[in-house]
Chain length 220, copies 2
Amino acid sequence: MRHFEQQLELLRQRLLEMGALVESAIFRSVSMLIDRDPAQAERVRHDEDRINRLEIEIDELATSLLALDQPVAIDLRLITAAIKINTDLERMGDLAVNITGWALDSLGRASMKSPVDIPQMAQRAQSMVHSALDAFVHRDAELARAVLTADDAVDGMRDAIYSTLIEVMEKDSAAVRPAVALMFVAHNLERIADHATNLAEDVLFLLEGVDVRHHSEVRG
Amino acid sequence: MRHFEQQLELLRQRLLEMGALVESAIFRSVSMLIDRDPAQAERVRHDEDRINRLEIEIDELATSLLALDQPVAIDLRLITAAIKINTDLERMGDLAVNITGWALDSLGRASMKSPVDIPQMAQRAQSMVHSALDAFVHRDAELARAVLTADDAVDGMRDAIYSTLIEVMEKDSAAVRPAVALMFVAHNLERIADHATNLAEDVLFLLEGVDVRHHSEVRG
C-alpha cells in the first residue's frame, strides 16, 4: 500500500474512532439524565477530551495529505469531506456535554417523572449518527439519504416535546426549572441530529459529487 | 496578478460578502422581535438564500484552488480556513432564521415588555462577527483574540437572561410562552457568538499556525 493510501486509511480510522466516542457521549449524557447518575458526566468529559484531541489530529492529517500529496478528484473530495465530518463530530461532542450540564441542573433538584420521551429521541439521534458514519464507511448513498429523511422525524419529536413541556409549565410553576432543562436536552438532541444530517450530506457529496445542501426536494 | 492570486482574492471577497449578509440577517431577525415587524422575516429568508448560494460557491472555489493549483504553506492554510469560515457563516445564517421563527411565535401573541435586554446581546454577537471578519481581512491577531474574550461576556449575558426568564415564568403562567421564545432567541444569539469564536480561532490558526481550539488558557 502506498504511503498516501495508508494515510488516507488512517484518516478514515480516526474519523470512525471519533464517531464511536460521539455515540458513547450521547448515550452517556442521556443516561445521566434518566438514571440520575452524576458519574456519567465525568465519562462524557473524558470522551470529549479524546474527541477534541482527535479533531486536531484529523485536521493535521487532512492538511498534510493536501499539502504533500496534492490529491485530485475522488481523493480530494474524501479529504475535504473528512475536514467537514470532523467539525460536525466535534460539535456533537460539545452538544453531549451541554446535555450533561442540563442533566446536572436537574440532579440538584427533586426528581420529576419526565412527561416526554427523551430516551426515544436520543436513540433516534444516536442511530442517525451511526447510520451517517456507516454510509461513509460503506459508501452507501441509500443509507445517507435515509439519514436526511430521519431528520424530519426528529424535528417532529422535538416540536411535540416543546408543546408538552410548555403546557406542563403553564399548569405548574414548580415544574418550570426541570421542564426548561428537558427543553434544552431535546434541543441539543435535535442539533445532534442536524449535524448527523450535515454528515450524511457530505457523504452524498463525496459519493455522487452532488451538493444536496439547501435543496429540500432532494431530501424527501 | 496571477490567476491563482485572483481566485484567492475572489474567495476572500465572497467570504466578506457572506459575512455582511450574516450581519444583516442577525440585525433584521432581532429587529423583527423588538419592533414586532413581520416583514423582516421575508428579508432574512432572502439573505439566507443568498448565504446558502455563496456557501456552495465558496466551497467550489476553495476545492478548485486545492485541485488545480496545489498550494502550499500559507495559501493552503488560507484555503482550509476559508472552508471552515464558510461553514460557520452559513450556520450563523441558519441561527438568524431560527430567531425569526421564535419572533414570529411571539408576534402571534399579546405584546409583552421584554424583561431582558435582547438587543444588547444581539449587538454584542453581531460585533463579534464583524470583528472576526475584520481580523481575517486585516490579518489582525489581536482583534481575533479580543473576539475570544468577548465570548465569555456573551455567555454571561445568556445565563443572566435565562435566570430572569425562569423567575418570570415561575411567577406568571401567562408569561411561559413568550419567555420560552426569548430564551431560545438568547440561545441562538449565544450560538452565533460561538461561531464567531470559531471563526476567530480559524483566523489565529491562519496567522500563527497555532491551533488555539480547546486550549482555554490561550483565550485569556
